[in-house]
């Protein structure tokens, strides 16, 4: 199969496929080319890209603004961590256990919101309330050590154990890379599916969609539940990578905001948006660190001020995000990606 034929299949030109393959190669070989610090940075970027995509399903595809997404990541993290610490159960099984919990939570929130007609900003505030509820609740839960924090046992890794997610940063890099690629593929399949079109209709004009016979309630629920399930995997990864969990941090509204920064900056509703947004934001943060270090500025808080200003500029100047204008430049059809 020639590159050109492959490209037509994916809906782009052969030039796009080549670029994509080059990027993929670069990303696959990264651990051999960078030092451990940069590898950690890449892991953080991919983590943001992954959670951004998960959140994007709810917002970008189905149009529901969730500002409490840390809830699902936190649930995933704690379920998997408790199973590992108390029963020695590995994270992949932990993930299987976490998914129903996260989906159930999402279903409850979705049901309450959609049945009672809570929408828009009110829905967003509802999601915040649930995340805060979880935060305070877990802060008092002895089973997870409450606010003292849950520590996963760590040994100096002699080999990479993917089943228990114990190993070098390189192993974690490939795990999160695989997850991000899987999420990307999943999102593309969803977007192109029948459900994807219903979501588009709901996002554009829910009333009209309902009038046209779409069961808006059901598809909004699907969006919430899929998004929640995916986000819970991020939580499992987080727990096993950082090895300590504090409700104050894991469920905090700061985390929820971090999750949405990527997609909003990158471009909501697009496939590449969350990924590009993650790269842009982390790159920005690291660049600012480097600039501050270079000029010898050791003022606590200065980096965040500059970061905030950059965010402001991007939001004002690029209302759709970074990806759509870039996509147009590259000549990629907007409905493809």
């Amino acid at each position: 199969m020639t590159p050109a034929a492959l490209a037509r299949l994916g809906g782009g030109t052969s030039r796009h496929i080549v670029i994509l393959l080059m990027l993929l190669l670069a990303v696959l070989l990264a651990p051999w080319a960078v030092n451990d610090y940069l590898l950690t940075v890449l892991i953080v970027i991919l983590y943001s890209a992954f959670t951004g995509q998960a959140w994007n399903i709810m917002m970008g595809f189905a149009g529901q603004l969730s500002l409490g997404h840390a809830l699902y990541a936190g649930l995933g993290a704690y379920v998997a961590a408790v199973l590992f610490v108390d029963y020695g159960i590995g994270p992949w099984i932990g993930f299987l256990a976490a998914v129903p919990v996260a989906m159930a939570c999402g279903a409850v929130i979705g049901f309450l919101a959609f049945r009672f007609g809570v929408a828009g900003v009110y829905f967003a505030i509802l999601t915040i309330a649930f995340a805060e509820f979880a935060r305070i609740g877990f802060d008092h839960l002895p089973a997870v050590n409450a606010s003292a924090g849950l520590f996963l046992p760590v040994r100096q890794a002699t080999h990479n154990d993917v089943w228990h997610l114990r190993g070098s940063p390189t192993m974690f890099y490939y795990v999160i890379l695989a997850a991000t690629v899987a999420a990307f593929v999943l999102c593309r399949l969803l977007l192109k599916s029948r459900m994807g079109y219903f979501w588009l209709a709901i996002r554009e004009d829910e009333e009209a969609a309902r009038a046209a016979g779409v069961n808006t309630f059901r598809y909004k629920m699907y969006a919430v539940m899929i998004s929640a399930a995916l986000t819970s995997f991020a939580g499992v990864f987080y727990a096993f990578f950082y090895n300590n969990l504090f409700p104050e941090q894991v469920f905090s509204i700061g985390r929820s905001i971090e999750m949405i920064l990527g997609p909003v900056i990158g471009g909501i509703g697009t496939l590449f948006g969350p990924i590009l947004g993650a790269f842009v934001l982390t790159g920005l943060a690291e660049a600012l660190n480097a600039v501050m270090a270079f000029y010898g500025l050791d003022i606590p808080g200065a980096k965040q001020v500059l970061y905030g200003i950059c965010l402001l500029v991007v939001i004002v100047a690029l209302p759709e995000g970074v990806w759509p204008p870039l996509a147009r430049r590259l000549g990629v059809g907007k409905d493809k990606l």
Partner: protein
């Protein structure tokens, strides 16, 4: 020892080299001939723990001349800001190591310190913990992590022992206590310690109620009302600076002076507490890791501190941050090289008897913990802090009971 706020050409080049020389094994880059030891100092300089991080930094700033006068080698300190955030702490640790840090010191907060300890252990770069109370950190079987600070369990045990000494000094045996504590990592750990250890120490008082409050609370009137309603004789408290000030103000407004305020944490002895509350600050007793005012090095450190920061009192933050640097310099001298394994071995055999904190000195057990460090009981007196227990470290007499707040106007 230069504080690396200004980028030196050597550092910029080293950074470029580190980025480019991705295949170089760490040991080759690090085991250089004699020069200053590169110490990565990780503290929360921004974020909600910023005040404490900056307080610890003072211990770093006054260290160079003192270390030099002890005949110890120079240290080059590379500053890292954990931003009071676990993820950032991990990244900063990685970054400092990639920039050539040969030893890490940090980080005050248990969560952030745990993350840094994992990085240190994975990379085989020694970490000397200045302050962090969570017991779990030295229970992981790490070979490169060393802590010269008591765990929450030790702090609690010493607190009970010192309380008994204080009661003996005052000739009292309070029957009832109310326990107020902040609901964060430290407060919860202490709460568990109290529950586990109180029966073993056979304390004279019973805890009438345990009142846990939100660390972000800006108004503690309800909590103090609850405490007052128990009619307890003493107030046991684990909190931080802001809570200390809030609670004291509420005690005054609600017109309740307990016989004693026994604090098992920071806050009640800090500069801002003393400066803001003035006469109302006298009396509370804090059971905390502290310096031994009778030790020679402690006197030197205090003199240097007061000279540079007049109007401030030397406290736990500076003492233990200084001692961490002391430990690092001492190990470097004995190791003779900056090779991380050699440093770790040297650290393991540390034995410093001429130190600042209370106890026989600094030595690490097989887990990397200094199990011998003891805690003191200190009391606020006229804007200064005096040690009233244990006996070997005391330098003043106890004042008991608390003078009524209403009579202090």
């Amino acid at each position: 020892m230069t504080s690396q706020n200004r980028p030196s050409r050597r550092r910029v080049l080293a950074g470029a080299a580190a980025a480019a020389s991705t295949f170089a094994a760490p040991t080759i880059v690090r085991a250089q001939a004699k020069g200053p030891l590169k110490v990565g100092m990780l503290l929360p300089r921004s974020g909600f723990e910023a005040a404490i991080g900056q307080d610890c930094q003072r211990g770093v700033d006054i260290a160079p001349p003192i270390l030099k006068s002890l005949g110890l080698p120079d240290l080059t300190v590379m500053n890292g800001d954990t931003e009071s955030n676990v993820d950032v702490a991990r990244e900063r640790a990685e970054k400092l190591i990639s920039e050539g840090a040969q030893l890490l010191v940090g980080a005050f907060d248990s969560g952030q310190t745990t993350a840094i300890a994992q990085v240190a252990e994975q990379k085989g770069i020694p970490l000397v913990i200045n302050i962090a109370g969570a017991p779990a950190i030295t229970e992981q079987g790490y070979k490169f992590v060393f802590r010269n600070f008591p765990t929450a369990v030790t702090i609690t045990a010493d607190a009970f022992a010192n309380q008994k000494e204080v009661f003996a000094l005052a000739g009292v045996a309070p029957k009832s206590a109310v326990f107020m504590r902040v609901n964060d990592t430290y407060g919860t750990a202490m709460s568990k310690g109290v529950a586990a250890l109180m029966p073993k120490f056979d304390m004279p008082y019973k805890i009438a109620d345990e009142i846990s409050y939100d660390p972000a609370a800006r108004d503690l009137s309800v909590e103090v009302s609850k405490a007052k309603a128990t009619n307890a004789e003493v107030l046991l408290i684990v909190g931080r600076l802001n809570d200390a000030m809030l609670i004291t103000k509420e005690l005054i407004k609600q017109r309740w002076t307990p016989q004693a305020i026994l604090s098992m944490g920071p806050g009640w002895y800090e500069d801002q507490y003393l400066k803001t509350l003035k006469k109302m600050a006298d009396g509370p007793i804090s059971f905390v890791p502290w310096y031994d005012p009778n030790k020679k090095l402690a006197k030197t450190l205090e003199a240097a501190f007061v000279k540079k920061y007049p109007g401030s009192n030397l406290n736990t933050n500076q003492v233990f941050t200084f001692e961490a640097l002391l430990v690092a310099a001492d190990a470097y001298k004995r190791a003779g090289s900056a090779d991380p394994k050699a440093l770790a071995d040297a650290l393991r055999s540390t034995n410093i008897t001429d130190n600042v904190s209370v106890g026989p000195g600094i030595a690490f057990d097989a887990k990397g913990q200094n199990a011998k460090v003891k805690d003191s009981a200190i009391q606020n007196r006229g804007g200064k802090l005096v040690t009233i227990a244990p006996k070997e470290a005391a330098n003043a007499k106890l004042e008991w009971p608390l003078k009524s707040y209403q009579s202090r106007a």
